[in-house]
Subunit: 425 residues, 2 copies
């Protein structure tokens, strides 16, 4: 009699009929003799409505007045983040209560658990809090006593007993963290796709569903642009070794992908999957002094401005005195990054700065890479054969990422998918 | 520098523009040098939507299946009340967060407090819980430190850290209980009318707004059908001597009615106000044995069935053996009351039972009644002059209620309003 965690996203609980369908899946798990914790998102659309309200509430009464510190520009004011969390967390609260009502009406004993009740303890970074612990002792006892626990996803409780939210997609993280907290035998993530694919099936029709994927590979896939699972949820699954399945709410009996330990994967191809991301922008600083401490003078101010820098490449200087440095940030952070660089222009001492947002990142991922030499070389040759120029390269033990012009993304992904023999028969 | 509690109902916070108007009223109070706790209801319409969802969630998947114990009738199943509270309480949560965001955006430091955070401790009777204490020490410190406390009305926390709700209109009760809990100097209930009237202005155009009303009178008015304030809120205001004002959100500077101690009212007319209620039904048991214990055999089963009995009249028996007994219940409880009576028919031993729902209760209320004899007599004569038959009479120290045919309600109220010289000039 195992404890199973199940998670259903916003489209799976979009209305009362779908909530009833979800309740049916939970009931089936109970009838199999399992104890169940089920984590739910807000009904599709609710979160956007609530976020819209918080933005409207934060708007100054008179339109078009520049905000302080905006340099005369009219900015969208940001709502108080702690109160944003209070408003937005209500979406998952409603779903958890409704699913508990539905289960009870079906004769399945159930109760809802909000973030502060579980508790799901988080950091104080409201709006994108980090789960720090799930000491769910009371809830676990209730589950062991035969009651289904319906957990409101996406939310937790921050220091000072304030409601916090984990940021978009946080319900996956809630689910895996709850599964770890109650030592569940498995965490089933029900979603609108039937598993993890070798790449995005929308651009590669020959993409194949993976039966299994190693935690490390899934972590890279998620970080590098595959949108099936949130990165943090994979981190937690990996850290606590929670066997996690991705499967479809609407066809739960076919397919699915199991996230597991590397050792559990028998056949290790050199490349397991191909990810891509269009949310990339490139900044180049020209003719910066080639001296110790120059990197710190650039990336310090960017870190202070809350900009995440991804790939970095520095050319060898021709004369030992001046060099060029290129790095990438997400597109939404480009303006902030440029502002931070310009503010510290004197300290950095570059000649000029250029930027581009029409770039994309394509990555190959596979734990088999460690054992197969020449994997990166095949990537470079494949892209070269298609006439695609590589602007920046970044590698780790199990992935190679390249930055290319955005217009080549589909071509690059399809060519690599074939080159690494991932195409479905 | 006093602490003021303010309360705004659903129509006052119906949308973001109205929430901004409410924030303006709060800001004004802060600028006057007051410390403020503001209690809010859900945005108008939200509670009904959420209640509808809970009912839909509780519906069995196949329509038209009789519920267990329904005697073959298809009943609307009742949602799990604890989960009902989780869903419905989200409405006030959203409003409190949005008002806090709006206040912060206006430069007024504010934070939201949910029922479990304040805490507003209640009984475990989910769906209509009773406030048992408001040990709001942390919140009071925050208010004294200059932060506006935005309290989610209508909700509390029941034993076991479960969310509870107080039942419809509960936000008034939240406001007065919070005012008492933080020793506020005053509780201002902002609503869509500008005060308490001598009677319902919709049926008596000459009704006058009262400048002041004694707690005891307001309690009777609320119990007897005036819908301005919830009965329980007046009870708490009276118990803790919280000076409470009723005033209009939309014209806050004119009018208003102050609930105060009897001693603070100088001119005491015999009758202060006239209330009426159409939510009445009458049950008569014919030819019951005139013996000790007969009342207990009737009202015991009714109490067990959760039926509140209001007025009771027992005729003197003609022969010392058999008598008739009439009592009233609210219309919504009529079917339940009849079922309980019929179930215990043998033990009671009545010959037959009749009932009527086309009755209404009209009441005169006034603390001056104590000092003025003949007040009830004037009521009976006035009704008699209009040809209105009195079916049942019930009195207390400061009120007289009569049950009459419903069709005479408006006529009776208007005639009494004139007779007691309450008409506006």
């Amino acid at each position: 009699m195992a404890i199973i965690a199940m998670k259903f996203g916003g489209t799976s609980v979009a209305d009362l009929d779908r909530i009833r369908h979800v309740a049916g899946l939970v009931k089936r798990e109970v009838e199999r003799g399992n104890k169940v914790a089920v984590v739910v998102s807000a009904m599709a659309g609710e979160t956007n409505k609530l976020v819209g309200w918080t933005n409207e509430a934060a708007r100054p009464p008179v339109e078009g007045i520049p905000m302080e510190g905006s340099g005369g520009k009219v900015l969208q004011p940001i709502p108080d983040q702690r109160e944003y969390d209070v408003v937005v967390a209500s979406g998952e609260q409603v779903t958890s209560g409704l699913l508990a009502i539905t289960l009870n009406a079906m004769g399945v004993k159930a109760r809802s658990w909000l973030g502060w009740q579980v508790p799901i303890e988080t950091s104080a970074v409201h709006g994108s809090a980090r789960i720090e612990g799930v000491p769910a002792f009371e809830m676990k006892r209730a589950i062991e006593g035969g009651e289904v626990a319906v957990v409101a996803g996406f939310q937790g409780v921050a220091p000072g007993h304030r409601i916090s939210t984990l940021g978009r997609g946080g319900s996956d993280t809630s689910a895996v963290a709850v599964a770890a907290g109650i030592q569940a035998a498995r965490c089933d993530i029900y979603t609108d796709v039937d598993g993890v694919y070798t790449t995005d099936p929308r651009i590669v029709p020959k993409a194949r569903r993976l039966e299994k994927i190693a935690f490390e590979e899934m972590l890279e896939m998620a970080s590098l642009g595959a949108k099936v699972l949130q990165t943090r949820s994979v981190e937690i699954a990996m850290l606590h070794r929670v066997p996690t399945r991705v499967l479809s709410t609407f066809t739960p009996d076919v397919g699915g992908t199991l996230l597991c330990d590397e050792e559990d994967i028998v056949e290790k191809k050199p490349v397991t999957g191909i990810a891509y991301s269009r949310d990339e922008a490139k900044i180049t600083l020209h003719k910066i002094p080639d001296r110790p401490g120059i990197a710190a003078s650039i990336f310090g101010p960017l870190a202070d401005a809350g900009v995440n820098v991804d790939m970095i490449v520095q050319n060898v200087s021709e004369d030992g005195k001046k060099t060029d440095l290129t790095f990438t940030v997400s597109r939404s952070e480009l303006a902030r990054a440029l502002a931070a660089i310009e503010k510290h222009a004197a300290a950095i001492g570059y000649r000029d700065v250029t930027h581009a947002a029409d770039v994309a990142k394509v990555s190959i991922i596979g734990i088999g890479m460690r054992a197969h030499p020449g994997v990166a070389q095949m990537m470079f040759r494949t892209l070269s054969d298609k006439g695609i120029n590589i602007q920046v390269i970044s590698t780790s033990e199990i992935k190679v990422s390249v930055l290319i012009a955005e217009e080549y993304v589909e071509l690059a992904v399809r060519a690599l998918h074939s080159a690494y023999e991932l195409d479905a028969a």
